[in-house]
């Protein structure tokens, strides 16, 4: 599979090296060939923000090896458990660095090899008995992995069709230059990479994120044209009074990964519109590889709060009460997405990797919402109880279970954090619980707000009154 259009380029901001055209093609080919020496099976790629990481990923795709993109800061015990359950043929990016990055020991049944092209890798002694399905291309760990992380299985068709649909919706052409503002193992970050490569555009590979000096230096030096962010990125930029006026090349801002407050959407829309640019609110989930909808920039400010219509090739319906599926405007229910980018299914172990498509292009999103007369989606909250912390989905029920030893507890979703109400918890204990959850879920502790409550409120039927707790957040 070749995701990369002929005019696509990679710029390494750290070195200034530019890789494009036949050189890029040859490099990807060289990386693809390097996989030939390993036993058949999937690739685990510890993926930081670096040109070598991009080449290991795109090389695996071209070699028709399903590739799992993994956070290099993944806890070594969690990585070891992933390897044990999924039996990858090879783990690449073993030396991938960054704060908190440590791969741990080379696991049993693997040997460490310093590959001349791929760098240090762990190679499996023998192929796994379970071989991946031929359609499988990319595996992404589900965010909000709470104790039992699993993979989303994306097919070749899902990855390529989503990349081209995104490029169309955002009018990404060969002149676009996108900096890597998000981690590449994160579905949104991956989609920025894929959509630009597929459109023959340039990806400016720069580590550090939107608060790093190197990032903005690279934006200026190389004339980056767009910026992708999750709500907390925009909250931070707002907090430091950032303005796009200083960066004349930067004209497209995109936002996904959770709900950004309407006033914040409007503020950034106004800032970027004032300099002739556009702000796009988008909606997606890892299970859709990830993009499902994009709000056209000219729909702001009138339709603020909507996440727009389905991407090209996709469509939405609403599952109304009683199980009736409808496109009628104004009916509230679970949103169902159909499109070629819907995942094949989940995988919890190596046997699951052999499975074919189990969803047939239909994804129940778990989000409540409604459509308007133009097919624009208006979200109305989660059907199941999930929260989002810094763009990462977490299961509120699982979080409650982790804090259950402190007494009766309820977790509710706040803006970019989870608030836990625990009956009669002491301040010291509350801090300890926040710290423990942060460590367990690998998220910053400011994402957890643990509060004491005398008694959890109940509805007349004895069930917990979540609404009244949400109102206190």
């Amino acid at each position: 599979m070749n995701l990369i259009a002929p005019t696509a380029r990679l710029i390494d901001a750290a070195s200034g090296d530019v890789l494009g055209g036949t050189d890029l093609d040859a490099e990807v080919g060289r990386h693809a060939s390097a996989y030939a020496g390993f036993p058949p099976g999937v690739v685990f790629a510890r993926t930081g923000v670096s040109v070598p990481a991009v080449l290991r990923y795109t090389g695996a795709l071209r070699a028709a090896r399903p590739v799992a993109l993994l956070d290099p800061a993944l806890d070594p015990a969690v990585l070891a458990d992933f390897i044990r359950r999924f039996e990858p043929a090879v783990v690449v990016g073993v030396a991938e660095g960054g704060p908190g990055a440590a791969p741990g020991e080379c696991p049993k049944q693997y040997r460490e090899v310093d590959d001349p092209v791929l760098g240090p890798v762990w190679v499996r002694d023998r192929a796994s008995a379970d071989q991946p399905h031929p359609d499988l291309a990319v595996l992404l760990a589900t965010s909000g992995s709470t104790g039992d992380p699993k993979f989303v299985r994306l097919s070749r068709t899902a990855v390529t069709s989503n990349a081209t649909s995104i490029a169309r919706a955002l009018a990404i052409g060969p002149d676009e230059i996108a900096p890597t503002s998000l981690p590449l193992y994160y579905s949104f970050g991956m989609s920025v990479l894929n959509s630009h490569l597929a459109a023959g555009a340039t990806v400016l590979v720069v580590d550090g994120g939107v608060l790093a000096r190197e990032f903005w230096q690279a934006v200026q030096t190389y004339g980056a044209t767009s910026l992708a962010g999750v709500p907390y990125n925009y909250e931070m930029l707002h907090r430091i009074r950032w303005s796009p006026a200083k960066y004349p090349s930067l004209r497209t801002l995109t936002q996904a990964g959770g709900k950004l407050r309407d006033e914040m959407i409007l503020a950034f829309h106004e800032k970027i519109a004032a300099v002739g640019g556009r702000f796009h609110v988008m909606w997606g989930c890892t299970e859709a590889g990830p993009r499902m909808s994009t709000l056209p920039a000219d729909a702001l400010p009138d339709r603020v709060g909507s996440v727009g219509p389905a991407l090209d090739g996709g469509s939405f319906t609403v599952l109304a009460e009683g199980g009736r599926e409808t496109e009628d405007p104004g009916v509230v229910g679970e949103l169902v997405y159909r499109g070629p980018n819907v995942m094949m299914g989940y995988a919890e172990n190596s046997a699951d990797l052999s499975r074919g498509d189990e969803l047939d292009g239909v994804l129940r999103t778990g989000d409540l919402g409604q459509l308007d007369e133009d097919g624009f989606v208006w979200l109305r909250g989660r059907l199941k109880r999930f929260g989002k912390i810094f763009g990462i989905r977490v299961n509120l029920h699982d979080i409650e279970e982790m804090a259950r030893d402190q007494g009766p507890v309820v977790a509710v979703s706040g803006p970019d954090k989870v608030v836990l109400f625990v009956e009669g918890i002491e301040p010291d204990e509350a801090r300890a619980v926040a710290g423990r959850l942060a460590e367990r879920l690998k998220l910053h502790r400011s994402g957890f707000d643990v509060r004491s409550i005398e008694r959890l409120p109940q509805l007349p039927n004895g069930k917990i009154d979540y609404r009244s707790l949400e109102a206190q957040v």
């Binding site: 800061a73 960054g98 704060p99 908190g100 550090g208 994120g209 939107v210 608060l211 790093a212 000096r213 903005w216 907390y232 931070m236 907090r239 430091i240 009074r241 950032w242 303005s243 810094f390 910053h444 502790r445 400011s446």
Partner: protein, 79 residues
């Protein structure tokens, strides 16, 4: 208390640094605690402690303890 000591205290509190951390040689993203969220907490703590308001570029340029120290000196903050 010297400016260095005050700033060290702000770093330790804001980033919840373990005892014995070599604070004066810290760099942004050099340790897990000083990530983007840690940075925002740190900026707020510095603004509180020294009664200053940092500009966008100052927040982005504050890539190490030493840079932060020089920046505060440049703003006329002393011990």
């Amino acid at each position: 208390m010297s400016l260095t000591d005050r700033l060290r205290g702000v770093f330790v509190d804001a980033l919840e640094l373990p005892e014995g951390t070599d604070v004066e040689n810290l760099t942004y993203r050099g340790i897990e605690q000083w990530d983007s969220l840690g940075h925002m907490t740190l900026v707020a703590a510095i603004e509180d402690e020294f009664d200053v308001q940092l500009e966008t570029d100052q927040v982005i340029d504050m890539s190490s303890f030493k840079v932060a120290l020089e920046m505060l000196r440049g703003l006329g903050v002393d011990g």
